[in-house]
């Protein structure tokens, strides 16, 4: 279906309309314990139409119907379900094309090369002589073509190649320890070099083995904590990014992903120390969450969600911006053509400071270095969270000592951020799949930050 033709037809009938077309080709390889268990190719093509009609929003999608009139009729019918006087903020309409560049193109990378790479990675892990009886790798590459038009005059085309990978490892020593890490990149297969995948994976195996064989019981009580970038990143995403999503604050997600401890009138309130600034930036080139325009045609920009310890800005779609009487800041994303765009994160990170790792650790008399985490969760108002270390060590008199097994920090959001007294200069990102909405929309994101230091937090 021609999306401009559909827009032209629907413009006469609705107060506002937008049409999205998406075509994607995704290749997935699953390797289990050295065997390629699944090779999957997914081809998708479809369109969606979102209309505003007499104060109601209707959303329809199809990959099968060719009947334009019926498609439009269904959208209007959906919108008529609703007389809630929903609106969308007025935004500048852009006409543009954007594309992510690749060095080693996905289109030119054969199945055999990918299989060989995974088999080699598996062999290198096994060559460490660590006992890893269960190993899962999943590699996926996607080529996405998108077109977007709306009745305000926006017309945007995009080409977005992406690579994703994760491993899930089970190491058996004196105890059983498991490690999971996800990687993501917008671009081609140069991703493997950017991620330094082989070295990171071998480090993971060795780290899990240390904990499994030499890990001491984790100390309990009040002590200092160094969070590695992976831990800082999950904190930034989960206890800053999610609670600043405007739809969550305004209750639109409340029967699913929940609401937020942050209320509409809390901008400027203190939530952490002066060392805490957390940004959300979709414009980082080659990031997993990269986009130039959001799912409603609004130009992407950096947003500072917490600034110097204070709540600063929310993540907005045009719908939430309209409700708050402001402009959208370009945070609306949809996981596919058949999902509605809503406020989402893309690349959320704790803004680094200027401390080196040695400077951060040197005056810690006793504490824990939590390099990464295993179990992690948070309540649905984004206030009570739990961090359990995967590879963690005791810190004594400014030095890293013995590995410890799964130290547990259970803390509130202000309890965590108010304890931060320094941030390192070693910004790193980890990829993730962020879940939200109904039906669930899993989205590619980066989460990041530097090593940060927290004083006097309580481990149990």
């Amino acid at each position: 279906m021609d999306i401009e033709k559909i827009l032209k037809k629907v413009e006469e009938k609705a107060d506002y309309a937008e049409v999205r077309y998406e075509k994607s080709l995704t290749n997935t390889l699953v390797m289990k314990n050295g065997n390629i268990d699944a090779v999957n190719v997914e081809q998708e093509k479809g369109i969606s139409l979102r209309v505003l009609y007499d104060g109601g929003i209707g959303f329809v999608s199809t990959n099968s119907s060719k009947d334009t009139d019926d498609f439009i009729k269904r959208a209007i019918k959906m919108a008529k379900n609703n007389k809630s006087k929903v609106g969308l903020s007025k935004e500048k309409a852009y006409e543009d094309k954007w594309a992510v560049t690749q060095k080693r193109k996905i289109e030119d990378t054969g199945l055999e090369w990918k299989i060989e790479y995974l088999q080699d990675l598996d062999k290198r892990m096994m060559d460490t002589k660590v006992n890893i009886p269960a190993r899962i790798f999943q590699l996926n590459d996607t080529l996405i073509e998108k077109e977007y038009v709306n009745s305000d005059g926006a017309k945007i085309m995009a080409y977005h190649p992406k690579i994703g990978f994760f491993y899930f490892l089970t190491v058996v020593g004196k105890t059983v320890e498991q490690g999971y890490k996800q990687f993501g990149y917008s671009g081609g297969y140069e991703a493997f070099d950017v991620w330094d995948l082989e070295n990171v994976a071998i480090d993971e195996v060795k780290g899990l083995n240390k904990v499994a064989n030499q890990g001491k019981e984790a100390p309990k009580g009040k002590m200092d904590l160094l969070c590695g970038p992976e831990v800082t990143g999950i904190a930034a995403h989960e206890s800053c990014g999610h609670p600043t999503e405007a739809d969550r604050i305004m209750g639109r997600e409340s029967s699913q992903a929940g609401e937020s401890f942050i209320k509409e009138n809390m901008v400027g309130q203190e939530v952490g120390s002066e060392y805490v600034t957390i940004a959300e930036d979709p414009t980082i080139e080659h990031s997993y969450g990269y986009y130039k325009y959001d799912g409603e045609g609004v130009k992407a920009r950096i947003k500072y969600l917490y600034k110097e310890g204070k709540i600063n800005e929310f993540l907005h779609s045009r719908e939430t911006a309209y409700k708050m009487g402001i402009q959208s800041n370009g945070a609306a994303r949809a996981s596919s053509y058949n999902r509605e765009p809503i406020p989402r994160m893309a690349n959320t990170f704790f803004v680094p400071g200027d401390y080196s790792f040695d400077e951060l650790i040197k005056d810690i008399k006793f504490g824990i270095y939590m390099k990464n985490f295993t179990e992690w969760n948070i309540d649905d108002k984004r206030y009570n969270q739990r961090y359990i270390g995967r590879e963690s060590y005791i810190i004594e008199n400014g030095e890293i000592k013995d590995p410890v097994k799964r130290p547990v920090l259970e803390v509130t959001t202000p309890g965590f951020y108010k304890a931060v007294d320094a941030a390192g200069n070693d910004l790193e990102f980890t990829a993730g799949s962020c879940g939200k909405s109904d039906p669930m929309q899993g989205l590619d994101v980066w989460m990041g930050g530097p090593t940060i230091r927290l004083r006097n937090v309580i481990f149990r």
Binding site: D37, G56, F59, T62, N63, N82, S84, E340, E375, V411
Partner: protein, 425 residues
Amino acid sequence: MEKEILNKLLNLGADDAIVKITDEDTEQVRFSRNKIDIAKNWQEKSADIFVAVGKRTMFTTIKDFDNMDASLKTLMELAKKANENQSYHGIAKEGFEYGNIEFDKKIIDADCKDYVHAALNEIKGTAAGTVLKKHMKTRIATPYTHSDDETASIEFSIRVFLENEISGHRVSVATDLKNFNPVKAASDAYELATLYKNPKSGERGKYDIILDPLFFGSVINYTLGSTSAFSVEAGLSFFKDKIGENVAPESFAMIDTGKGLYSRRFDDEGVATGENKIIENGVYKTYLHNTSTGAKFKTKTTGNAGLVAPESWNFEVKAGDHSKDELFDSFTGLYLTNTWYTRFQNRMTGEFSTIPRDAIFYYENGEVKESWKDIRVSDNMLRLYKNIAALSKERQMVKWWYEVEEPGIAPFVLIKDVNITRSTQ
């Protein structure tokens, strides 16, 4: 269409192939703060295709039907280049005696928005939730079988808020409109919220707990992942090496079944679905298998083939011997009505935590003493099942968003000596 694609694949050199065509028409109305936010309709068609050339295997999902012939050709070229899959032991050649699935055709024409308005009339305060109706037609063809399936289901979920942090959540899900009762769900959610007064931050310690079917349904969902043979091999199952062992008290039994909210006559190999006893009399009985994992584990497929790995369909926990009231009689401990964000420290050994949400009641001697908030269940899944002390006769069909993603029937359950934690600062 499925037979045509199958024949093309066999002509292009496939030794075995499976073609499944699905047509889905889904409508959803979402509401929050007592107003409808959006109404959506999806019409999707997809082809799930599996091919094997010797032990070289490939899967594909095609939602772009414009270039089917070219896609099939590419698929076969890739399959011929793929490495041999040592886990592959063929597709099913028997097990094709299909049962019938019944559903209420009136669901197809049900008006979702009317249910929202009727439900909202039952409550004070504000509410958020969804109504979702789904109509699905599936056809499957392999060299050994050919069949079709048609199902419909309807789901309602409502979370009622009386004020900040005072909430109750209930669902009503069904395959016929006679058993679909969103008005009662709304009224029950409202009642829960009204009983949940002035919650205080809870205290850590060991408590006996009673889980509502909605909460227990979520626990079972995170358990079902451990029942797939794929998970057992991948280090993702706390039931590894547990076949024949006591994993729960004698009163506990759980099955996986093809009949339920998400009924299906056949799995992704075309094998007829049935009832699989996962836990019977407290003893762990079977992992869920497709033909390949069945062969590897020296057993047969259980009719649970998913596109890549064995999957569960609908769960059902056997009713207990106690009435719900008997469970609460003289009860001292926590009644937990809903949960979310369950995560594992270790999927092989079962350490996990989950975060109760909505109404949480602390009982003493059968009476509500306090309402609590801000607590976490932090324990071990295997220990949780072992510590089940009683199950109710009353059961509910539950399905809710991502937390009870696979639907099923669950009772109220009393579990002894469960570890509760909370934030320290």
